[in-house]
């Protein structure tokens, strides 16, 4: 236990004293954010086109459409046939289809307390995960608003009173979670791979192997120190975003922090694998670069995943970075809860476990 704390402390000290690295790992994401944010920040970078199939034609169904329309991030496309709407969805012309079936109004009016809530079918395209997730969240919020209006007489069930109206997504709102994800990717994957490989090359690890220190203590301390550092860095970037661009975190900080942790662990484990398989520290850098570069461009850091070519979609959807950006984005932009991001958490968790198993098999002191 003492060894664990001492090593954690040592790693933190080394990091804080390494001014150059400290500066660049923080300066680069902030610089990128400020540059991209200033050029593109005020354009409406994110919008979700929702196909709306109204088969009820009632005041109630109109009201729902109005609520959706009021949101600037949503452009609503009314379609009369469900089939047409679904075709449009497949072609990517719309990202989501909401169907209001016949009997919606009747059901809403007559609903009583003990009845099951009404189920509104929402169709989405699985290959467009990021956007359709955001869209779903938007629809969910609209429906939530409707239910609240209905349940008005019973103030005991007040949910988040901030309505969808507040949601006005700019490119910068889209960008900041991406930048945070990018930092997590590069600081951990490239950082761990480079550092461990260079420590190994310089015989630092070999010297420690000559003591009674256990490899798992060493690795645990690395993880702890990096989690602290990354949490702090992510926080600083979010602060800058908040102060300069007024970007806010709509979801809970707990969810956000949970995903920062999951992302950190996943990429750190991949970094350990790279350090394990790289023959020299000179090769660790390029290997990490070779892996991180495409991830940054495919993983939805700068551009929505839906803009990626079709044939890359399957690859994009197994990348941990895609799930990390999605989760961070939905937490920050839409206010998604941890529970609604179960898929992302599971995929990242899968990467963490898988990668740590491989890392422990490939870890070498020398």
């Amino acid at each position: 236990m003492r060894a664990y704390w001492q090593l954690t402390l040592a790693q933190l000290r080394i990091f804080l004293r390494n001014r150059q690295v400290l500066f660049w790992t923080l300066a680069f994401p902030i610089f990128l954010m400020v540059m991209l944010g200033s050029f593109l920040g005020n354009g409406n970078g994110m919008s979700v086109t929702i196909g709306y199939v109204d088969q009820d034609h009632s005041p109630q169904s109109k009201q729902l459409a109005d609520i959706l329309k009021k949101n600037e991030a949503i452009s609503l496309e009314k379609t009369s046939s469900k089939k047409d709407a679904l075709d449009q969805l497949k072609q990517g012309d719309v990202q989501l289809v909401v169907e209001v079936p016949k009997g919606y109004e009747k059901r809403m009016k007559n609903s009583s307390q003990n009845e099951k809530p009404f189920t509104l079918p929402v169709f989405y395209n699985e290959t467009d995960m990021a956007v359709s997730q955001i869209g779903q969240q938007l629809v969910y919020n609209a429906v939530d608003a409707v239910s609240k209006q209905k349940a008005d007489y019973k103030p005991a069930v007040v949910i988040n009173p901030k309505g969808v109206e507040a949601l006005n997504l700019r490119y910068i709102d889209f960008l900041v979670p991406g930048i945070v994800a990018m930092m997590i990717l590069s600081n951990n994957m490239n950082g761990v791979a480079g550092q461990i490989a260079s420590w190994r090359e310089r015989g630092i690890l070999r010297r420690m192997q000559g003591t009674t220190l256990k490899a798992h203590t060493f690795i645990a301390a690395q993880i702890t120190a990096r989690l602290m550092l990354n949490g702090l860095q992510a926080l600083i970037v979010l602060m800058v975003a908040r102060l300069v661009f007024d970007v806010e975190v709509r979801g809970s900080w707990l969810t956000l922090v949970s995903f920062v942790i999951l992302g950190t662990l996943a990429f750190m484990a991949i970094g350990f694998i790279i350090a394990g398989i790289a023959k020299t520290p000179e090769s660790a850098g390029p290997i990490a670069g070779f892996l991180s570069f495409p991830m940054l461009f495919l993983g939805g850091v700068f551009f929505p995943i839906k803009n990626m070519p079709e044939f890359l979609q399957p690859i994009v959807h197994i990348l941990p970075i895609a799930h990390l950006t999605t989760a961070l984005r939905e937490t920050m932009n839409v206010g998604a809860t941890f529970m609604s991001l179960g898929t992302e958490a599971l995929v990242l968790g899968g990467w963490i476990i898988g990668a740590f198993i491989v890392a422990s098999l490939t870890f070498k002191w020398e």
């Binding site: 060894a3 040592a10 004293r17 310089r202 000559g210 003591t211 009674t212």
Partner: protein, 308 residues
């Protein structure tokens, strides 16, 4: 003085790299409380031998015991009782002397007082300095401090003074002798014969992966059949047959310096000067001395320690 209780016992250690034998069947015993030296030129296999003993390389054949522990099986126990300073280590450059000592101390179940250790290693002034800023000698003393932090019985030092200036070397010698005084067993490697002579109770001479002699420095020199050496330089590659000189038992030398070994100094010297005069050759830097460990090595291998 050393008792004759065996504390390290190496049995036919072999280490191969491809079909090259870095260490080719080495046997020896180290006694409790002695300073045991591995002397040999670069590439002799000293580091490889030492690192097999401390568990950093796996022998391809043979084994060794540290106390009652077998290096093939009880490495974890062994690590608690040995301290190592490796030939090529760098440390976390951005930590301070005190910080890194505390860190290494935490790796072990128990450790000695760190301020005292810093004092003993003459690093008190530097205890708050970053490792990056230390001189070569200070870094080496820190490396030794790290080897001592958990109060081991046996200390392994791999070329502790290589690359240091003469004063820093002397300081280190004092440290080693002090450790011996405290009853530690020390095994060190060196390619400096003067160092081996000053520090070691017994010396194993290694060459090309083999151990070619093992004895006290005095006995090694005494057993050299010749007790004197004549060194000189001579002009160019004149047709000069050193074998013709009387009383010569062995011819050595490196680069342009010639060395003749003899049991009869006067006879050899007279003969050398006569021969040179007859042929009109000019001898320079002529000197005589008693034979040293260096000469033992030359005698046994026909090569100099420094040739490598």
């Amino acid at each position: 003085m050393s008792s004759h209780e065996t504390i390290i016992k190496a049995e036919h250690l072999v280490k191969r790299y491809g079909d090259f034998y870095a260490v080719n069947g080495v046997d020896f015993e180290v006694h409790r409380g002695e300073v045991f030296g591995l002397l040999g030129p670069n590439g002799a296999g000293k580091t490889t031998t030492l690192e097999m003993l401390v568990g950093l390389r796996k022998p391809d054949a043979g084994t060794a015991w540290i106390g009652e522990f077998d290096i093939r099986k009880d490495l974890e126990r062994i690590k608690e009782v040995i301290g190592v300073q490796l030939q090529s280590t760098t440390l976390f450059e951005l930590l301070t002397v005190e910080e890194i000592l505390k860190m290494y101390a935490s790796f072990y179940p128990k450790h000695i007082s760190i301020p005292e250790l810093i004092e003993d290693m003459i690093l008190t002034d530097k205890r708050k300095s970053r490792i990056k800023s230390l001189s070569g000698g200070q870094k080496q003393r820190l490396a030794i401090a790290l080897a001592l932090v958990h109060d081991p019985w046996i200390i392994f030092l791999d070329e502790p003074t290589t690359g240091l200036d003469p004063q820093a070397r002397r300081t280190l010698w004092d440290i080693v002798l002090n450790l011996k005084q405290k009853g530690k067993t020390i095994m060190l490697t060196t390619h400096y014969m003067d160092e081996a002579h000053v520090l070691c109770d017994r010396i194993a001479i290694m060459d090309q992966g083999k151990m070619i002699a093992l004895d006290t420095p005095e006995n090694l020199v005494k057993n050299l059949q010749s007790d004197s050496a004549v060194e000189f330089r001579i002009d160019e590659s004149a047709p000069f047959h050193l074998e013709e000189i009387k009383g010569v038992t062995q011819i050595g030398g490196h680069k342009d310096v010639q060395v003749l070994y003899t049991d009869n100094l006067q006879e050899t010297l007279t003969s050398l000067i006569e021969t040179a005069s007859e042929k009109g050759l000019k001898l320079t830097d002529l000197q005589t001395r008693t034979a040293t460990l260096e000469d033992v090595f030359i005698h046994m291998t026909g090569r100099s320690l420094r040739e490598g």
